[in-house]
Each structure stands twice: as C-alpha cells, then as structure tokens.
Symmetry: C2
Amino acid sequence: MYLAPWRSPLALALHRNRSLVYARYLQLATVNANGAPANRTLVFRGFLEGSNHLMFVTDARSEKTLQIAHNPQGEVCWYFPKTREQFRIAGLLHLVDHDRENLAWQSSRRATWQALSDPARAQFTWSHPGQPRTTESTFSRSAPDPSEPLPNFCLLLLEPLSVDHLELRGDPHNRCRYFCQNNQDNDRHWLIQAMNP
Amino acid sequence: MYLAPWRSPLALALHRNRSLVYARYLQLATVNANGAPANRTLVFRGFLEGSNHLMFVTDARSEKTLQIAHNPQGEVCWYFPKTREQFRIAGLLHLVDHDRENLAWQSSRRATWQALSDPARAQFTWSHPGQPRTTESTFSRSAPDPSEPLPNFCLLLLEPLSVDHLELRGDPHNRCRYFCQNNQDNDRHWLIQAMNP
C-alpha cells in the first residue's frame, strides 16, 4: 500500500508531542441536514491497517452519524501544541456500524472495541447521548463484554483527500498542501504544493 | 446587557487553564460553497464589549471570508486540556471588514488591531495566504502602522445561539446545553437543559 507523503510529518508531530495525552485529540467538522457546520473533539485511534484512513470511534445514536449519512464530507483540524503545527485533513467519512458489510472494516471495528478501556466501553451502555437527562437516565460503570462490540458501537473512518500542513515555528511560517489524485490506472497518488502561510 | 449563563463556566475554564497559552486556541467550523465543511484553529480575542459575541481576527483574503459570505453559520469547538471540558458554540458569523458600516464594530476592529503584537500585524502584509508560494512571495518582518488597521485586516464575530458544555471529569460525564430564544419583547434569553453525555 501507498503511504501518503503527509504521513511522515504527521508521525513526527505525534512523536514530538507524545508527552501530551491530548495531542491525540482533534476536532472533526461535519455538516448537518440544515447545512450548518458541527464540530466536536474526537480521539485519534490510529490508521486503518494497510491504508491512510484515520480511525475514530462513535456511538450509532450520536448526531454525527445522521450528519454523515446525509453528507459524508468531513474536515479534521489537528493542532499540536508543543511543535505549534496544524494539520487540516479533509476527506470522506465512512461509518462502520454493526451492519456494515465489509469484512476488513468489521475486523478493525472489533479490534478497536477490544483495545478500548473498560470505562470507554461502559459509555456505550449509557442512556441515549444528547437526549435530555432525566431521572431514568442510566450511566452504568460496569463494562460490557470486551471481546464482542455492542451493536451501537461504530468505527468511524476518514479517507483523506487533501491535507493542509501549517508550521507556525518558521519565520515566515511554512505551509504545504497535499492533494490526492487518481492517475490513468485509477491509482491514487498525492501532489504536494508549497503555499503562502 | 444580558450576560449569557454559559459565560460563567467558560470564564472559569479560561481561568483554570490560563497557564496554557493554547487554551485560548479553538477550532472554527464553517461550510464552503460546495457544501463541504472546513475547520481551522483560531485565537480567541475576548468578547465584544457589551455583548456575548466572541472575537477573532482574520485576513480578508483568507478562504473563510468567502465561506462566511456564502453561509454565515459557524460552530466553534473549544477543548480545555487541563480541566478536560469542551464547549461547542454554534451561531452566526459576522465579518467586520474595512467597509463594514457599524461604528461600534469598527471601533472594536481598530482596538483589536492595536492590541496585536508586531509580528501578528506584520502577517497582514504577507503575500496572499493560501496561494501557491513562489519566488515572488514576500513575508516582511517589519510591522505596519500599529494605530490604523490595514484594509485586509478583519475582525470576525461569532454571535452564539447555542452552547453545548461537556465535562469529562464527572462520573458520569456532565453535559449541559444552552439555547438562545427570543421572548415577546424580542429580548434574547437563554434556556438550559441537562443532557445525557
């Protein structure tokens, strides 16, 4: 598989910021059915094996799953505080829910569930997220089966199509854009362009 | 003026995270003309005097000004690492450019320019941001007039209409949503609702 050229600077940023647990947190923007933007923090869960797809987890009951079904476009903004650099990664979102018929993706969905902590798994048993909290809302601490994901547990994939990398440390700042293109054999390759910051 | 009820927990978060310079950085999501989301890091520049509007600065030549002209909806995602809490602030964006005929906003535009550092002001003299970098691109270090803003310097206001506050520290997490409503006298007031996290 073809490792995209932005993977190397991104790996370096992750390495240099590894002392900050929240360097693995980023913000995902989507568009809701009314055409308004939505934006929330997610935890980066690594790359899908043999691909450049970023992995996240989400609850099938969360608002973002409806948004993605309506408009699969997403842009992640990832700021690294220690090295003062930003990656904006735009592309297509793929929701891998319980029913998704893709063996490789289902296998990654299961592996990601198994890699979660018990408290993280327990959250998928909680009352419907984003609904009004009532006396009947339940938030159990006991963790569900660690081997088999609950039906509402989803893997969320971002298939990158363009990446904008900005480094604030340079004088002037450095900025570089990566574009994904298909060639004649329908193979993907990436073009790189230096930009004014 | 009516201080919105989410101002107090936000002020507390800013105070408790004040040792981190990047606690004033947040991510703004907008929608581009093709209906795709865009997302980038901005620096919070305080509240517009006598209002609940958040202030940012931007360059009139940046892509987001076109996006905002096409669709003024925005959502800010603001994560505070130290206290592990997130504010999602959705609302309407107002671009205060050189031509904007609003005396109070123009006065804040000027004051915000004057409060910038010299290096921050110098960036507004740089070559067109986001365009390909060439040998003719220029990035001067010398700062422009600190008293009168350059024509491409814009103040960007976010007028909040809903706020979603999530605290990850609780067990379970605490989540609360604030909604802006107009009453019969067309006065704005805010409703608060506890949500399932």
